[in-house]
Amino acid sequence: MNCEEVRTFLPLAIYGDLDGAQASEVAAHLKACPGCRAEESSLRQARSALDAVAAPQVAVNPVAIIEAESARQVRLARRWRRIAVAATTLAAGFLLVLAIRPQVRVGDGALVVRWTDAPAPASVPQPSLHLVPPASDPGQAERLAVLAKLLRALVDDADGRDRDRQAEIAALRARLDAITLSSEARWQDIQKDMGVLYRQQFPRKEGLE
């Protein structure tokens, strides 16, 4: 080993961290090299100087640690409970939204929230320009002729019945006229008879009047 190699190993040699062969080589070099011995001496003095620093006395309080940890566990449990409640609420809200599918519409100065399907717009009947030609029916004329005959028969029957009623009415009027004439003639006869009888009972005195 040369001086450079030895000086590389010196800090480890001072702390006993070299293996046997390296330690022997370094020791052999130091015996023969005053410069490396001086380097080793200064490093040993630095090592002993490190011991001048003392550490403060510290007393850890394990009870305070356990209490602090217990308090933290309680806080964590509360936080998880809040998170669980919030997550459940969110999930329920999400499911509700999925279930009712609300529709929100803003416009015309109004906010409309709808959770059912919008009614379909009323269908406006459109004028049809498609003209369907009447279907040709060969039995229709025959049916119309029968219907016309039936109507004529009904009219004839009504006319006949009307004529019969008019005749009956005329006969009744004739009988009523005959009765009236007979009654008037009989009344005149009665008046004549009554005048005769009155004059017979109560003869007229010409001088008194």
């Binding site: 702390y15 490093l43 002993s48 510290v58």
Partner: protein
């Protein structure tokens, strides 16, 4: 290790006494590790408490493969890195008091040296400081360190050599040469 494993198993089952025993066993190494990583200005007591709080939260996920110390140091290391990032964003203040363990029995020179070492250590780049603290103060070997930091051992050895040389150079630059450091 077997005692650790038993304590950890009971701790995982909810035994508060076992947790207390683990805390008593590991609070000094963890606080020492944090103090040396973060320097004298760091609120080591609060950070150590936080390390054991995080360990308590995570103990259910810990699988005992005989490396509890590595697991605990990883928690402390992550916390120290977070604290270090926050401290770098804060205005830098020089320490006004000597470290707590340096009592009146120590010489004035010793206290000065302690301050200088603390400053030099805090001035090291974080990757070098982590390796130096783990190797020198915590006695972690490079294989364990490789598992803890997820960095190859050969890389860590190189970093360690650089870190020790930089510490020596910084102490010399602050006036603590060979004579002062040797005291």
């Amino acid at each position: 290790m077997a005692e650790d494993a038993d304590l950890i198993r009971r701790w995982q089952e909810g035994d508060v006494d076992a947790f207390g025993a683990v805390v008593r066993r590991w609070q000094r190494p963890v606080s020492r590790f944090l103090a040396r990583l973060l320097g004298p200005e760091a609120s080591v007591a609060d950070l150590t408490q936080e390390v054991f709080l995080r360990a308590h939260r995570a103990i259910g996920r810990y699988c005992d493969r005989g490396c509890f110390s590595t697991w605990l140091y990883r928690i402390a290391l992550n916390l120290a890195r977070d604290a270090g990032r926050q401290a770098r964003r804060a205005p830098v203040q020089l320490p006004e008091e000597v470290p707590a363990r340096v009592s009146g029995n120590d010489s004035w020179e010793r206290r000065e040296l302690a301050d200088a070492v603390a400053l030099a250590l805090a001035d090291l780049p974080v990757p070098l400081r982590e390796v130096l603290v783990l190797r020198h103060y915590e006695g972690v070997n490079f294989e364990q360190m490789a598992r803890l930091l997820a960095i190859p051992a050969s890389t860590l050895k190189s970093r360690f050599a650089v870190a020790l040389r930089q510490m020596r150079d910084r102490l010399k630059a602050m006036g603590f040469g060979d004579e002062e450091a040797a005291t």
